[in-house]
């Protein structure tokens, strides 16, 4: 006898410990099976695009820290400064570009560590959370010595960076990298062979290569589906064209593949930091740019590879002291849209594993 079933609507969030922010998921269930997932976003909408229209180019640097993705503040500053520099034709000194690369990669490691730790907690692995935050704390200390901030730095400036590296910092950073690489192997040992972890991630939440491209996924989510794309290789900015690194790609497209990609990315970031520190040239760190600068009329779209994917800024200037229109192309926004496809057909218990695996930050989704 066939059992008569009914569809059930389940609300997850907006205040839910596993949504990593204020995200509401409207899950349509048939028994335990997910039929459809509709993310409902906008709870953290800070209208940073509108605010940027009312502040000068110089002031906007501090807004990008908190208005966009707060876990990768330096990479947000990077994309904004790059956009203004390209629009106004400002040259950045060599030393500043190297410093930016070091800081970007440290930020990427810090962001991936938060992701790995919180995702581990979602899947029931508490140790990995504590270990990740232990290493992240060291990165925060490194940041604090250079920028003065731990999360919100306001360190990059249009035309360079605010202050030079303190004495002995490069060696300290080098020591951290040496310390950090064996730690990645530890995470690997802790999780990769763990049967519980494997059962919850391998083959779960698959998105095909075709869907990933069509839905606009980027970054580790796309690379886990076999799309070998990295803006750092494709359109190198700063000095990434001089760095030797590999772009990790997996073809399975499941949660486990996304985990493998990010783990390998941390190793590659450490590799880039080493090279950049070795190549760090002496000299100026900042071009003189008037504080009340005006950008010439025009528009520019700049893409960078942030920890979450393809982070872009579309900047329109009408020749005034403030931007005329800023459009932030947030990687989490498109990746979260791809979630609707990933979730179909899985069990309700997989929701958290899949949601955690795409690594969204809600202030990036809502801006």
């Amino acid at each position: 006898m066939a059992l008569r079933t009914e569809e059930l609507m389940l609300n997850m969030g907006p205040q839910h410990p596993s949504t990593h922010g204020v995200l509401r998921l409207v899950v349509t269930l048939d028994g335990e099976n997910i039929i459809e997932v509709q993310p409902d976003i906008g709870y953290l909408h800070s209208s940073v695009e509108k605010m940027m229209e009312h502040r000068t180019y110089f002031q906007n640097v501090s807004l990008t820290d908190r208005g966009m993705d707060y876990l990768i503040a330096l990479q947000n500053e990077e994309v904004y400064c790059l956009a203004v520099e390209r629009l106004a034709g400002i040259e950045v000194p060599e030393r500043a570009r190297y410093i930016r690369v070091v800081m970007n990669e440290l930020q990427r490691i810090a962001s991936h560590l938060v992701w790995l730790g919180t995702w581990g907690i979602d899947l029931g692995a508490t140790t990995v959370f504590l270990w990740c935050f232990r290493e992240r704390e060291m990165i925060m200390d490194l940041f604090e010595q250079v920028t003065g901030g731990r999360l919100h730095h306001a360190y990059y400036r249009i035309g360079g960076v605010y202050a030079d590296l303190p004495e002995g910092w490069a060696e300290q950073c080098q020591r951290f990298v040496d310390y950090f690489l064996p730690r990645v192997d530890e995470y690997d040992a802790l999780l990769t062979a763990n049967p519980i972890f494997l059962a919850r991630t391998r083959g779960v939440g698959v998105i095909s290569r075709r869907d990933a491209i069509a839905m606009g996924a980027s970054g580790p989510v796309a690379r886990a589906s076999g799309i070998a794309l990295d803006v750092r290789k494709e359109e190198p900015y700063e000095v990434y064209d001089r760095m030797q690194f590999d772009v990790p790609v997996q073809s399975e497209g499941d949660c486990f593949a996304r985990y493998r990609v990010r783990l390998e990315e941390m190793r590659q970031s450490a590799r880039i930091i080493r090279q950049a520190l070795r190549g760090l040239p002496p000299g100026e760190i900042r071009t003189r740019v008037p504080m009340t600068m005006k950008a010439p009329r025009g528009e520019v779209y700049v893409r960078t590879e942030s920890a979450r994917g393809d982070l872009g800024i579309f900047l329109v200037s009408d020749g005034g002291e403030t931007p005329y229109r800023v459009k932030i192309r947030a990687p989490s926004f498109s990746n979260l849209y791809a979630l609707t496809e990933m979730m179909k057909g899985w069990k309700v218990a997989d929701v958290i594993a899949i949601l955690g695996s795409i690594d969204i930050v809600l202030s990036d989704v809502d801006r």
Binding site: K50, G216, A217, G298, E299, K327, R329, F333, S334
Partner: protein
């Protein structure tokens, strides 16, 4: 994108405007005008020298009015948009399988809907700009070509009020469903939403009833 590809694209769609080329032409015209002015000034200086008069003031170049595009940018009519997009996506020479974002600019007299397309395989990108009148901001939706456009179009609708025809589910995405107006428009004036007015007046009534300080409990120490 290589010049040959751009030529091929323009040949297929003669009505498409190559904005980057127009910008280069405009820049050249401005440079020429400036050069002519400088020549004139040089002559005036020499004439003044010969006549023993004080030299005329040096010239100052006006701020350029040219609008700069960085990278290939094309102006497309909205009637033609879907054909152009489909051709760009399906033609293996272009292979624009990735839509970076859809957004719009409010130019006070008109809107411009912006599409940024990219080809991961061929590693090139293109910006399409579709001018739409302010009193009739409609464009066809490209969700049929790129699924990822769905949320981007909803966002453009929410913040700028562009109506995407043929969109499967066009409703607000970032603002609450009962929000009035489109915040990123240049003529938008913020108004407190009704629920907020009610909450605030309720709180004011409470304060009036208890005589409590606005700043809450505790004193400055």
């Amino acid at each position: 994108m290589s010049p040959e590809r751009i030529a091929q694209f323009l040949e297929r769609f003669p009505r498409v405007r190559d904005l980057a080329a127009e910008q280069r032409a405009e820049q050249a015209r401005e440079d020429e005008e400036w050069a002519a002015k400088q020549r004139e000034w040089q002559e005036a200086v020499e004439r003044a020298k010969a006549e023993g008069k004080p030299a005329p003031r040096p010239l100052k170049r006006e701020e350029s009015r040219v609008y700069h595009y960085h990278g290939p940018t094309f102006g497309v009519e909205r009637e033609e948009l879907l054909d152009v997009c489909r051709w760009l996506r399906d033609n293996p020479e272009f292979d624009m399988s990735y839509l970076s974002f859809v957004s719009a600019i409010d130019w006070r007299d008109r809107f411009e809907v912006v599409y940024h397309l990219r080809s991961p395989a061929r590693r090139h990108s293109v910006v399409l700009k579709v001018p739409v009148p302010r009193d009739d901001p409609r464009v066809p939706s490209v969700t049929g070509l790129w699924r990822g456009a769905e949320w981007h179009e909803r966002e453009a609708y929410d913040l700028l009020g562009i109506v995407f025809e043929g969109h499967p589910d066009l409703r607000r995405i970032l603002m609450s469903a009962d929000w009035k107006g489109h915040p990123l428009r240049k003529d938008y004036v913020y108004e407190d939403p009704q629920w907020l007015v009610e909450v605030a007046s309720q709180r004011q009534r409470e304060i009036a009833a208890t005589g409590e300080d606005w700043e809450g409990r505790g004193s400055r120490s």
